[in-house]
Symmetry: C2
Subunit: 337 residues, 2 copies
């Protein structure tokens, strides 16, 4: 028996989640919702470029889709901020369906949005289902992975996580999102307005601290442009000398003035490598490197991979640090339904 999924949001990530649900064993797409009038009314197969229609038409109204579709779970892939997806989450929970969402600040909302977290947790418990925020980052590379690595330590003093990505290999919206081709002053103005930079560094820091039982005094999160020293044409956006190639972002979680958790991200056109590094200072000291965690594929994959765990989880607001190990699964032996 497959996990039947309603897809809410068919942007770049939502489309990838939909494609995997259609292609992977153990999953079945049963509904789709998007607010874009250009997508409503179209078959999802046609929409994502498949040769055969899937018999599922994109609907414009979430509540009516929920009321008329038999499903096991909702994949919510719309916006980055929890507060902006609360109305949709409330509608889904009213329909008593569990949710896995790529909303970045839902990955670990407990620290930054304690009231909203409590409200969401209460709604999910009332509905008898789990709500899980996940994705490759936040949700995996800079939080779940370092948390798991500490399992072999008898003492952890500090954790450093680096994520380097060559943005030239990512989709156009990602290259736009990191400010490629912007003049530095435009870049900085957008950062100041909160519309440029990776969303979720603070959530990853808070998730690690929560898992390890570290009380943090404050969390910092600073975005700077990586500037081109010459013209760069390896991405989909041409970048002139002095313009931004992308972001360099640094975050830290402090206790008593000491940075216990440090995060460093580089995502720009032409970055030398795509590599995730975790350094744990403690006993023993550990250094982990992973090559190949590809942003868009991985975020969609982890969304599906978390579904069996979300279905089996106790009702409430859950995070990747609460769930049993999320892993790829063949679909041959449905874990939870």
């Amino acid at each position: 028996m497959s996990i039947r999924v309603i897809h809410v949001g068919l942007g770049p990530i939502g489309e990838r989640v939909l494609r995997q649900v259609i292609e992977r064993a153990g999953f079945e797409a049963v509904g789709a919702v998007d607010i874009d009038p250009g997508k409503v009314g179209r078959d999802v197969g046609e929409l994502i470029g498949l040769e055969t229609p899937q018999g599922i038409v994109v609907q414009g109204d979430l509540e009516s889709a929920l009321a008329t579709t038999s499903a096991d779970i909702v994949a919510l892939c719309t916006r980055s901020a929890l507060e902006s997806v609360m109305p949709d989450l409330e509608a889904i929970l009213t329909a008593r369906l569990p949710v896995v969402s790529t909303t970045e600040t839902l990955a670990y909302p407990h620290r930054a949005q304690p009231e909203l977290s409590r409200r969401l947790d209460a709604l999910a418990r009332e509905a008898g289902v789990a709500v899980v925020g996940t994705g490759v980052n936040p949700g995996f590379a800079m939080d779940t992975l370092p948390i798991v690595l500490t399992a072999s330590c008898r003492r952890v003093d500090s954790i450093e996580v680096d994520r380097i990505q060559d943005a030239a290999k990512r989709r156009l919206p990602f290259q736009q999102k990191i400010g490629a081709g912007l003049d530095p002053e435009v870049f900085r103005e957008r950062v100041a307005r909160g519309v440029l930079g990776h969303v979720g560094l603070g959530e990853s820091i808070a998730m690690i601290a929560g898992a390890l039982g570290w009380e943090l005094d404050r969390i910092t999160d600073v975005v700077e442009p990586k500037l081109a020293e010459g013209p760069v044409t390896c991405g989909m956006i041409p970048v002139a000398t002095g313009q931004a190639l992308g972001i360099i972002q640094d975050g830290a979680g402090y206790r008593n003035g000491e940075p216990l958790i440090r995060m460093h991200m580089e995502a720009y056109l032409g970055a030398p490598d795509t590599i995730d590094t975790v350094r744990i200072q403690g006993s023993p000291n550990l250094t982990s490197t992973v090559r190949g965690i590809e942003g868009d594929v991985a975020t969609a994959a982890i969304t599906l991979n978390a579904m069996p765990r979300a279905l089996a989880a106790p009702p409430g607001l859950r995070t990747m640090a609460d769930l049993p190990l999320v892993s790829w699964w063949s679909g041959a032996e449905p874990v939870a339904c």
Copy 2:
């Protein structure tokens, strides 16, 4: 409030677990049991070389220790084979205490010992507590870690795990366990009798397959000696030319003749590095390396780190693949008690 631990088995690993329980915040040693007459009656602090006695005397009788000690959990660190620890597990479950154990074949007994697994699961459910087998290997480096890494994959075709360890840095019993200093014929005779080689490779393979939903036809596990090409003196056992420095062990899990999971271990005196590598073939391809996962410290650490999860887990036989993420924790905020 600390987690109160009764220690059963004070061999090399049990002693290390005890030491961490005494030294780490969030844990408290409340009892100790060993069958060695040379240990019974001694204070555990004196036994492990601490300056101050701990007021806990090693007892020789498990049932009487369980009956007279208020505790939250038992750390069982005696033998490698599940069948040999069943009487102790039954006594502990009769006392309605959860168990975390370093018994290697308990890490994932479902495949090799289905009947014993069912019986243990039933006993644990009756007792209303969880039983967890863990350790660095099996339990972490060659199973939990690769399982977690697949979370970012949309497809997994095969998994290769290598664990290389310089045995010269390990304790004497470990150097003996891997056959250092043995003549090849003695080495092979011991392997044939099943008393030499790493225990748990098959369990790691079965755990990965179970998590991913792969039905395996068969699992192989072959131990060969790594022979010295000249005299080697870097360990605690001098090794002459042609004698064994340690083990090279290869395992595989097959489906339809294809090795979906391959494991390679090298543990010998003078091995070039201590490194754990995971290669996942699929989409995307991933390569992970971790340096620093130290066998003895890590096995003891993970035993403690699994305790909060074991206390909060649903009753029954649990594995590292069933529990929410096991991580180091500061003890500042008891997770489960």
